[in-house]
Every structure is written in C-alpha cells, then in structure tokens.
C-alpha cells in the first residue's frame, strides 16, 4: 500500500482529556470509559492529502497519535517518545488555567532539535466552561499567542464539535496538511542528536513555518 505515516505527539497535563480527544479524532465517537494513561497510547487515524503545489492525486496518510501520559514523576522516562516527531497537539483544560500555563513547558520538553514541527493548541472540556469565558478568546488564548499557533476549543464528549464544515474541522485539516508537508519536506541537515541543546522555538520561526 502506498501510504505514508506521520507521528503526532499529544501532550498536556494529567487529566485534561488527551485520551478522549484522540479517541474522538480517530473513531469519531466519545470515549466511554477513560482510564489513566501510563506511558504512551498509540491510536491511528486516516487523512487524505492532496498537494496543491504538485497537483498530484490524493494520497492516503496514516496519522499516528502518540498520546503520552502526563504524570510528573514519569518525566525522566518520556524522552524515548520524542524522536522523529512531525506534529504536536498541545491540549489544555479550559476549566483549569494552570494547565494552559504549563503548555510552554511541555513544548520545551518535547522539542529536541533546531526546528519545531507544526503545533496546534486544543482547549478541551468546553462543555464544562461558561459561555462568556469562551467568548473572551476568539483568536486563541495566551499559550497559543505565545507559541504562535492556532487554537481550537472543543468538547471531547460532543461529536458535533468536529463535524465537517465547522471552523474547528477546517483548522484541524489545515494542521494535518501542514504536518504532512513537514514530513514530505526534503531534510538537508543531519537528524537531531539526543542530548543536543534544546532551543526554544520563537514566534517568527513558527509563523514562517506555518505560512502565515
């Protein structure tokens, strides 16, 4: 089968709803019995990509979501998952502001190498949040602004948040396309070594990468 794989990390504090989100993205249904994620849980979704530049036919890509458990005490063993990443989903809980403030720490922990893959920030549990709090952040909250990437607000128990045609679905598809383009891009430099100095991604670099 002529299909290619991309690796997308799903990061965030413990209990924000990463496993429910990944289940929603891959199975398009609600996760009925969420359990605490220990280590890494791998789920696979499909995405059809048509390159606008080359005009080739649509190709089917496998999106591998690496849902990494957010326990602070497992921090020393998580490094093994952070190699060969093509995209990062940062998830925070809209009812708990501390989880949003921790997102830059997660990004810093997982970026090994000079350039950052495409990033998307997702605010989960929007059904538990008051409507006026949601209205205050139409263009993304603090974390998304600081990192320089778009943000989606959704509820992982509501399958309609990502139905075709909504703004959320459009942003998500654009993110998938960026991830696939990052994967297909020819790599001139050598692959990053483990233990290299971690550079903090800056806004200009991210904006250029995302073509904004």
């Amino acid at each position: 089968e002529d299909t290619l794989r991309v690796k997308i990390l799903v990061l965030g504090d413990s209990g924000v709803g990463k496993s429910s989100l990944v289940h929603l993205l891959t199975n398009h249904s609600e996760l009925t019995n969420p359990a605490w994620t220990v280590g890494c849980s791998l789920q696979v979704g499909l995405h059809e990509y048509r390159s606008e530049l080359t005009g080739q036919a649509e190709r089917l890509f496998f999106l591998e979501f690496w849902d990494i458990g957010g326990y602070p005490m497992h921090k020393n063993s998580r490094g093994v998952f952070y190699h060969g990443v093509h995209g990062i989903l940062l998830v925070h809980d809209l009812t708990n502001r501390k989880t949003e403030l921790n997102l830059s720490r997660w990004l810093h922990e997982s970026c090994l190498g000079a350039d950052t893959p495409p990033v998307l920030v997702i605010g989960a549990k929007s059904d538990l949040c008051k409507a006026d709090a949601l209205a205050k952040r139409p263009n993304g909250g603090e974390a998304a602004a600081r990192i320089g990437c778009p943000e989606i607000l959704l509820s992982c128990v509501d399958t309609r948040s990502l139905s075709a045609g909504t703004t959320n679905a459009v942003k998500l598809d654009r993110f998938y396309d960026q991830v696939i383009e990052y994967r297909l891009r020819p790599r001139a430099s050598t692959p990053p070594r483990v233990g290299q100095a971690i550079s903090r991604p800056n806004r200009q670099q991210s904006k250029l990468l995302h073509g904004e």
Partner: protein, 460 residues
C-alpha cells in the same frame, strides 16, 4: 505585661503563620490546580496557623515569655479552635465535596447540604465509638467534656504519628545509603528503550491495519445501503480475514505489554539517577546521615521492645537525665536551672521545626501521588485533618520530653489524660509499622535485585 499586649503579640504571630500556610498552599501544594472554593484554602491555612501557634506557646512556656494567665487563655483558645476544626468543620466539608463530586446525586444546594450533614453525624458517631475500647474515660469526667474529645483525637493522631515514624525510620536509611544502590548499566536502559519502541511499532502496525479495515467496513456498509448488523457480519464472514475488532484487541494486548515495559524503564531510570546522585558530595552527605539514622532506628526499636516487654514508663525526661549525668557522674559544675531551660528550648524548638517540615513534605508527596482534578479539594481537606490531629498529638507526646516544671501547663490544658497510655500505644504501633516496613522493603529489594540479574543475563 498585660493580657492585652500579650494578645497583640500572639495575634500577630498567628497572622504570620496563617500567611505562611496560605503561601505554601497556593505556590506549592495546589500549583497545578485552580482554587475554586475558598473554604478549602482558609481551613488549611487556619489549621496550619493553629498548629504552629501551639508549638510557639510551648516555647514561650519554656522561655517564660508573656504573662502565665494570657498563656493559659491562648492555650485554651487554640485547643478549642483546633478541636472544632478537626471534628466539625473539616469533616463536614469533606463530606460536602465528596457528595458534590458524585454525579448520580441531585445538584440542589440544600439537598447536598442535608446529605453532608447526615454523613457528618455518621462520622461523629463512628468517632465516638472509636474511643470506647481505649482507657480514655476517667471517672471524674463527664460524657461530653473536652478531655473525651482530646482523648479520641489523641488516639488517632498518635496512631498516624507512629505509622509515619515507623515507615520513615526504615525507608529513609534505605533510600539514602549507598549499600542499597542498584548499579544500572546504560546498555540495560537502551535495551529496554529499544524493546519499548519495537512494541509500540507493533501496536502502530496493528492499528493501521485496523483503521484500514474500519474504513473498508464503513464503505461496504454504505455501498450495500444496509445498516443492519447481521448483514455486515455476514459480509465480513464471507470476506476471509480478520475484522477490525479482532485486530484492535490484539493491538490492545501489545499495548498492555508496552505499559509494563514503560514502568520498568521508569524504574531503571530512577535507579540510574539515584546512582548518579550518590556519587556527588550531597549524595555522600546523605549516605552518612543514612547510617546515623539507621543506628537511631535500631536503638528506637530496641527501646520500644524493652518498654513494652518490661512495661516500663519513663519518669525522667532526657533533659533532666542528661544534666543529672553531667553534674553527678561527670562532676561538672552547672547551674541546673539555667541549662535545663536552654537545652529544653533548643530540643523542643528543633523537634517542632523538624516535625512540621517532615509532615509537610510527607503530605505533599501523598498529595502529588494521589490527587487528580476531581479529588483535589477532598484530598487537601483530608490532609488538613491529618495535620491537625498529628500536631495535637505531638504536643501531647512532647510532654514526655520536657522537664517537670514545664510539663504542668500541658497537663493543665489537655486535662487529666492517661499520658503513659499514649506513649505505650505509640511504642506498639511504631514497632508494628517498622517491622512490617522492614519486611515489605526486604521483599521489594529482593525482587528488584532478582529482576536486574535476570536482565543482565538476557543481555549477555
């Protein structure tokens, strides 16, 4: 000094302790959560302030600061406030938050409050029955007196103290001493990482297959136009090969293996960090402390056993005994009164500070390990309750370590309790806790040593 100015001093120090508890809660304990109910923050800070206030009053007693009358007044105030917190406020709010988090109960405020009140009454009944088998009831006390409440709180607090001390006395040398450090080779760590990534690759391959099968099944369902389950199953049976569900279950099995490998990797990395830490200067210092603590633990175990076997109740506190040895046996000329005061001050001060710091560290460790978004409020309230009972009982037990002239304020304030019973109870529980900790850690150590030997054999 009049009662008025003394009260100002005490009030100022209480406010300082309250602010300290507040900052500790917000910046350290609750740093990953949002404070949504202020009562949790306030009750934790008040419990902490009252505990520190009690230790402060003991120090003032020794040093002779403040008027004796105002000291007695503030003692009674502290004890009374602490009892109200530990027996009324904290249990009621724990029940209230536990009921609020249960989703199958109605959401109305009044219903929740009524249920919480019922639970609290049940707690009070249980609390009262707890004290019956113990010799707390003295003939000259009434049924609902202060001594009854303190006696019961004291039993629970002393049990918690002995359990934590027993486990800590065994665990601290084990975690510090270099004799128990397991050497971990980098090749072992890399081996486990490789196996983990291979397992995840296998999971990914199976899930990719399952995703394609799901898409095919969905397309064939749409194409045939039927959405009946038995038609889809018949179509799948005709099409030879596995279904998405069977491949998915195989992937789940491999994922379980991946979880075990991840936990093993975590253990190895922690052991590696510990080995690296033991080579630093700080590590060597902790190793020395570990040996000292090991000796102290053995001595404490022996003295507890002797106390229980020979039913010995220490009448003389260590301060007076040490001074007695110095003056009469070694022949130093000392002003016993002055030195007794100095040594008691430093001893009680150091014990108070280490006890507060030790308990806060242990509570923080428990909280970080067990709390989640839903249970954070309940966990903090339970920890505040444990803290209140712990400090009340440590005041009770500290009476043993002070010379007779400073003891009587505690005796007066806490009432006429059977103090030697509490010391005996502490010895029994300490012995049980320490011996079961030794057994548990011995078994765990043997298991990990066996596993590392097995792995090094595999690698060769």
């Amino acid at each position: 000094m009049t009662v008025g100015s003394d009260s100002v001093v005490m009030l100022a120090s209480m406010c300082a302790f309250f602010a300290l508890g507040w900052v500790f809660f917000l910046k350290h304990l609750f740093r990953d959560y949002e404070v949504r109910h202020w009562i949790v923050l306030v009750s934790f800070s008040v419990t902490f302030a009252l505990s520190c206030g009690m230790f402060e009053l003991i120090i003032f007693e020794i040093v002779g600061l403040l008027d004796p009358l105002s000291r007695r007044l503030w003692w009674r105030l502290c004890i009374f406030a602490m009892l109200i917190l530990v027996m009324v406020v904290l249990p009621y709010y724990t029940c209230y938050f536990a009921i609020s988090s249960a989703s199958f109960l109605p959401r109305r405020r009044s219903v929740r409050s009524a249920l919480a009140l019922a639970c609290w009454l049940g707690f009070v009944w249980l609390f009262w029955r707890l004290g019956d088998p113990f010799p707390i009831l003295s003939p000259n006390h009434g049924i609902f007196s202060l001594e009854q409440c303190i006696g019961r709180v004291g039993v629970i607090g002393v049990t918690i103290m002995a359990l934590l001390s027993g486990f800590g006395a065994v665990n601290y040398p084990y975690s510090c001493m270099h004799v128990f450090v397991r050497p971990v080779t980098q090749s072992a760590v890399l081996g486990i990482e490789r196996r983990l990534l291979q397992t995840l690759d296998l999971v990914a391959a199976k899930r990719r297959r399952a995703a394609l099968l799901r898409r095919d099944e969905a397309q064939s369902r749409q194409a045939s136009g039927w959405s009946l389950p038995w038609t889809a199953a018949a179509a799948a049976a005709r099409r030879s090969g596995p279904t998405a569900a069977s491949v998915e279950s195989e992937a789940a099995n491999h994922e379980e293996l991946g979880r075990q490998l991840f936990l093993e990797l975590h253990e190895l990395k922690t052991a590696q960090e510990r080995a690296a830490h033991s080579r630093t200067l700080q590590g060597r210092y902790f190793n020395l402390l570990g040996w000292v603590f090991c000796a102290y633990c053995l001595w404490k175990l022996c003295s507890c056993t002797i106390n229980i076997v020979f039913n010995r109740v220490g009448k003389v506190d260590p301060v007076t005994r040490a001074l007695h040895i110095c003056v009469q046996l070694l022949g130093f000329r000392l002003d016993v009164q002055f030195w007794s005061q100095q040594v008691s001050f430093w001893l009680v001060g150091i014990m108070a500070v280490t006890s507060i710091r030790g308990l806060l560290l242990t509570l923080t460790k428990f909280f970080f390990a067990l709390a989640s978004t839903h249970s954070s409020n309940i966990m903090v309230l339970l920890l505040a309750q444990v803290m209140g009972m712990y400090f009340l009982s440590s005041v009770l037990l500290m009476r043993m370590n002070m010379p007779a002239e400073y003891r009587h304020i505690i005796t007066q304030v806490l009432g006429d309790l059977q103090f030697h019973f509490y010391h005996r109870w502490f010895d029994v529980i300490f012995l049980l806790s320490a011996s079961s900790s030794i057994a548990f850690i011995w078994v765990a150590h043997k298991q990990t040593v066996g596993k590392s030997e097995h792995e090094s054999l595999l690698l060769r």
